[in-house]
């Protein structure tokens, strides 16, 4: 059965981070247009990431000996929600900070930790994640990328797709088949850290319908990695990836993707004096919905802080979070479209249009709705 998510207070020491971050962000992002900020964790800006690093705000949960802050998940929660709600361009360091760093800390050798983690904390090593392949989709166990053991290392062949920001990243942590065949499904998969500057790596950005190039296809043509490219145990890739996905699903990323639009619309309502019954109700509905999900997300952070691994609960919160992220553009669009006599500022309209179009992708990242609901159903003991 799924565990209760009890109301949890963010400890005062972590909460104290908030005003500092907020002050920094109002300077750093105050002049960015809202439709640019709406890209938030697709927004790639190494300079911004280095500013955060300079303040000690990367690797908050990584140990001090590897350059981190040695703090807990609550501090990361506060940092993340302030960054995301402000629409800060966090993409450069995000994956490394959130997923790759913790993964290396958990499964890496001492040498790997010393090699990668300090650079992650300094915003000098950016990571991307290689999971999906052209014919795999949600069925990750069917991947065909292969890493063949050769003397002194691994020989990689195959391709990955939908890799966010591969063209800007230094490394990819790729799920590869190291033994067995596709029919073996979950057996024989491993995770490999690929240096994307190696010969034989080709990266082709894919333009999305909003005109951005956030996704890439990455081709491996006889790429030769050294032995220590393997992270964790050979053949242990599947449980490692799932631990990583659970981690990905538990963060506030799954809640705030439409937040810049909400804040812009709120300002628009105040400026135009729009406060009819429908507007008031809609504001209250969206905000109270967000407040409950935020409380659930904080509760997950509490579980992480206690060393628990709330995989099923994280799926539940993620599915709910995606729902509101996708609902906000629908709802706000309708509110604006139903007041055709009130002019909509161009920046608000651009923000709306961007999020309307990209919202469907919110339920693809980190597991589709069907995958998540299957996990929840199993967690509930449906058999």
């Amino acid at each position: 059965m799924i565990d209760t998510l009890a109301l949890t207070e963010i400890p005062a020491a972590d909460e104290a981070l908030r005003s500092e971050i907020r002050a920094f962000l109002s300077l750093a992002t105050g002049n960015m247009a809202p439709d640019v900020r709406a890209r938030s964790w697709m927004g790639f800006d190494p300079g911004f990431s280095r500013q955060l690093a300079a303040r000690g705000w990367l690797g908050l949960t990584l140990p001090v000996e590897y350059g981190g802050a040695g703090r807990g998940p609550f501090s990361r929660f506060v940092m993340s929600e302030e960054l995301l709600c402000a629409g800060a361009p966090v993409s450069a360091h995000w994956i490394a900070d959130r997923q790759s760093g913790p993964l290396i800390l958990k499964y890496g050798t001492e040498a790997q930790k010393q090699y990668y983690l300090p650079r992650i904390c300094k915003a000098e090593a950016f990571f991307c994640i290689g999971m999906s392949e052209p014919n795999s989709g949600s069925d990750l166990a069917s991947i065909r990328c292969r890493a063949t053991a050769v003397p002194g290392g691994w020989l990689l062949n195959g391709s990955k797709i939908w890799t966010t920001n591969a063209q800007h990243s230094h490394y990819m942590i790729a799920l590869m088949r190291t033994s067995g065949e596709a029919a073996d499904r979950y057996k024989g998969l491993s995770q490999i850290i690929v240096d994307l500057s190696l010969p034989g790596v080709t990266i082709r950005p894919i333009m999305d319908m909003a005109g951005d190039e956030h996704f890439c296809e990455v081709f491996f043509d006889n790429v030769l990695c050294t032995d220590d490219a393997l992270i964790g145990k050979e053949g242990n890739g599947w449980p490692q990836v799932n631990a990583e996905l659970a981690f990905e699903r538990s963060g506030p990323e799954r809640l705030y993707s439409s937040m810049v639009l909400l804040e812009s619309w709120l300002q628009h309502c105040r400026l135009t004096g729009t406060n009819d019954a429908r507007t008031i109700e809609t504001v209250g509905k969206v905000v109270s919905w967000l407040a409950v999900l935020r409380a659930m997300s904080i509760s997950l952070a509490g579980k992480l802080a206690r060393g628990e691994s709330p995989a099923i609960e994280a799926s539940l919160v993620k599915d709910l979070g995606t729902e509101i992220e996708q609902a906000i553009p629908q709802i706000i669009g309708e509110m604006l479209g139903s007041c055709p006599r009130t002019p909509v500022p161009a920046h608000l309209r651009r923000t709306l249009v961007y999020l309307e179009q990209m919202a469907p992708s919110f339920s693809l990242r980190g597991g589709t709705r069907e995958i998540l609901r299957g996990i929840i159903a199993r967690g509930l003991g449906l058999r």
């Binding site: 109301l7 949890t8 209250g284 509905k285 409950v292 609901r373 299957g374 929840i376």
Partner: protein
């Protein structure tokens, strides 16, 4: 300590609020015996200070008891009586014995008559703590005419006092200004909804695992799994919303937090009831099966004391009126564990 209390309340309700005893009370049997057991347990005074033989707990600490009352669809106003007693004590009035309903919105006092419509525990209360537009009184149900308002099996009633009740206890307006009855009612029903939702989900899971169609348990079908996952999501979210509504360092709920709890729990209640019935199919509609013991209450509690848009609007109006506050800041400051 909280867990100890919660466990013994849960044990008590599992013994006295069985489907059979709920049905007996629904069909008109007296609540006296059940009420006596609850009264003797001492929990009704848990929010009163220890000096008054209370337990000196705060609202957050009694929240699990409210959840239990919802989970067992306890057919008397347990949570409301606890809150009413604490409220009366704070207003300087000694709480009377007997079950108390709270009518925080929509009580009408015209030309001598007082009307409280569709009170969920109207049939089983001795008193109604009623807000008649700022003028608050404790009204005895014995002096009211009562009209069943919820169909078969419901404990709801619309109560009417033809003249201002003689035995009613008026409360000085100044004493009661701090905590509105509307927010007491909102917080209590939010918690009851969250509790009943847990029960309804559990019944639905059991049924989906047992019932077979097309050669396998229906819980194996993707469409059913999908629905039950959504039910579970709403149930977990309702619990969190209700816990926020009852987050408080003292006995009383905060206005915006109570509003949030009722808004979200009301919105979920109808959906959870509908999905439970959709999965159960025809058997769920029968009187005998008893799913309705819980879903009927989900629907009544959803609409009473202000349904979802009423309370969402209270929150929206507040945020819109604060010119410089972002939604995130508002949530952190007014709608979070920290806020209480």
């Amino acid at each position: 300590m909280d867990t100890l209390y919660a466990d013994s309340v849960e044990r008590l309700f599992s013994q006295i609020s069985t489907p059979a005893s709920i049905r007996a009370i629904e069909s008109g049997q007296s609540t006296d015996a059940m009420w006596k057991e609850i009264e003797q347990s001492g929990f009704l005074d848990a929010l009163l200070p220890e000096s008054l033989e209370g337990a000196g707990l705060n609202l957050a600490q009694v929240f699990p008891m409210f959840l239990s009352a919802g989970r067992y669809a306890v057919p008397v106003p347990f949570a409301q009586t606890m809150l009413a007693r604490a409220w009366l004590f704070a207003a300087g009035v000694t709480p009377p014995k007997g079950p108390i309903s709270i009518a925080g919105l929509g009580v009408r006092a015209d030309k001598g008559t007082v009307d409280a419509d569709a009170l969920p525990f109207g049939r089983v209360s001795a008193w109604v703590l009623a807000d008649m537009g700022g003028d608050i009184a404790l009204l005895p149900t014995a002096e009211a005419s009562s009209l069943f308002s919820g169909g078969p099996g419901s404990l709801s009633a619309s109560l009417q006092w033809i003249t201002r009740p003689g035995a009613g206890i008026a409360i000085a307006a100044s004493k009661s200004a701090r905590v509105g009855l509307d927010q007491l009612a909102a917080a209590s029903y939010a918690a009851l909804i969250a509790g009943a939702a847990e029960r309804v989900l559990a019944m639905t899971l059991d049924y989906a695992n047992q019932r077979k169609q097309f050669g396998k348990p229906i819980g194996k079908f993707q469409a059913i799994q999908n629905q039950i996952s959504v039910m579970a999501e709403r149930t977990w979210a309702s619990r969190m919303a209700a816990e926020l509504a009852c987050r408080s360092a003292d006995w009383s709920p905060r206005f915006l937090m109570a509003a949030l709890g009722k808004a979200r729990c009301s919105e979920a209640a109808g959906l959870i009831a509908d999905m439970a019935h959709a999965v159960h199919g025809a058997i769920g509609v029968t009187d005998e099966y008893g799913l309705h013991l819980y879903t009927r209450r989900l629907r009544e509690w959803r609409l009473c004391a202000g349904a979802e848009s009423y309370w969402a609007s209270r929150i929206g109006a507040q945020l819109l009126s604060q010119p410089e506050t972002t939604a995130l800041a508002f949530i952190c400051e007014e709608l979070s564990a920290q806020a209480a």
